[in-house]
């Protein structure tokens, strides 16, 4: 399987790379940041999969140039759909042990992903959810906090799990758990749906404190209050 991606020089560096983890990044029009995100991830991970969800700004080519395996949706389907495509691809790779979902906009930290994988391995967890509310490093601002806390409450009500942060894109999913994921929600409601489906696996899970880096860029793209209404309706209507 090592032949799939562009090999680089610097054997000392490549030998440190995790070869049994697939990073899955839903990608839609993030050309200005995706190159940096992929380059950083590739320092530690052999397999970085970007699902280009019909970007019109050349994000796919940028990610490919940075060393990602890019899958391309023929049309824009939504973040949930892109995530599912990436998970479906990653879990059929023979060497895959873990799948890490990661956001394209640079709001997650590489160190958090590595630490969550260590946690999953050492405690034999099938699922590790990143949470920005387990410590006080992250300051989302009050409006965002209200939206996110409401989302958590809805998620906990519908899933029966006790989470502190629902709409956090950083998750570690072991492949046996990933095989049970079949997201129907193409848009943002997938974040609740994935918790529901992973919860149903009854596999051991935990939350892990992560820091979310709110740049002006990610702030501008963040979820609004009205978007929360969309998420609720998507979840309620069959």
């Amino acid at each position: 399987m090592a032949s799939m991606s562009t090999e680089r020089s610097g054997s000392a560096e490549t030998s440190l790379r995790d070869r049994e983890t697939w990073i899955v990044i839903p990608l839609f029009n993030e050309a200005s940041v995706i190159g940096g995100v992929v380059t950083e991830l590739r320092q530690r991970f052999e397999h970085v999969v970007c699902v280009d969800d019909g970007s019109t700004d050349g994000s796919g080519a940028t990610a490919r140039a940075a060393g990602a395996r890019v899958l391309t949706h023929p049309i824009n389907l939504g973040q949930g759909a892109a995530l599912q495509t990436g998970i479906s691809y990653a879990r059929e790779q023979a060497a895959a042990e873990y799948i890490v979902t990661f956001d394209a906009d640079g709001q997650h930290r590489l160190e958090d992903a590595v630490a969550m994988l260590d946690e999953a391995r050492s405690r034999e967890l099938a699922i590790v959810f990143g949470s920005r509310f387990l410590d006080h490093r992250t300051n989302p601002g009050w409006a965002k906090k209200v939206v996110l806390k409401t989302a958590v409450r809805v998620t906990n009500l519908t899933t029966g799990l006790r989470l502190t942060d629902a709409h956090n894109g950083l998750r570690v999913i072991r492949t046996d758990a990933a095989r049970k994921v079949n997201l129907q929600q193409d848009r943002m409601a997938h974040a609740t749906e994935i918790v529901l489906q992973l919860g149903r696996t009854r596999l051991p899970w935990a939350e892990y404190p992560v820091e979310v880096l709110y740049t002006d860029y990610s702030r501008a793209k963040g979820q609004s209050l009205l978007n929360a209404v969309n998420i609720l309706v998507d979840l309620i209507v069959n």
Binding site: M4, L71, H73, L77, S88, Y89, D186, V237
Partner: protein, 121 residues
């Protein structure tokens, strides 16, 4: 008044249909029967407008045209909800189709990449 009960029940029913019902052959059959029933009632009402007013009076409305208006609104809302649900189903099918296309392409690319490196070595 009977009409208030009937209309409220209709609204609640449409709301439940929106939230609960999943598409099935049974629902499709019921929808088709509904269309035929509406057509039949339409013919009757055209032939004998007096019946409409009689029915209206029976449920507590003065005029048949008012009953017709209420029935039209309920029918329209039912149509909107049914069509909305259908569009969700279609978009899910569309997503699956696009995903399969993407995954087939990816498997093909991977297979070609593996073969190319085998040839090189």
């Amino acid at each position: 008044m009977w009409i208030q009960l009937i209309l409220i029940a209709a609204m609640v029913g449409i709301g439940l249909y929106l939230v609960r019902a999943r598409p099935s052959a049974r629902h499709l059959a019921l929808r088709r029967l509904g269309v035929f029933a509406v057509l039949a009632i339409g013919v009757i009402v055209v032939l004998a407008p007096g019946w409409l007013t009689a029915v209206a009076n029976a449920v507590g409305i003065g005029r048949g045209t008012d009953l017709l208006l209420y029935a039209s609104i309920v029918g329209f809302m039912l149509y909107v909800v049914a069509d909305y649900k259908r569009s969700i189903q279609l978009s899910r099918a569309n997503t699956q189709l696009a995903r399969e296309l993407t995954l087939v392409q990816a498997r093909l690319d991977d297979a070609i990449a593996v073969r190319d490196t085998d040839v090189e070595n």
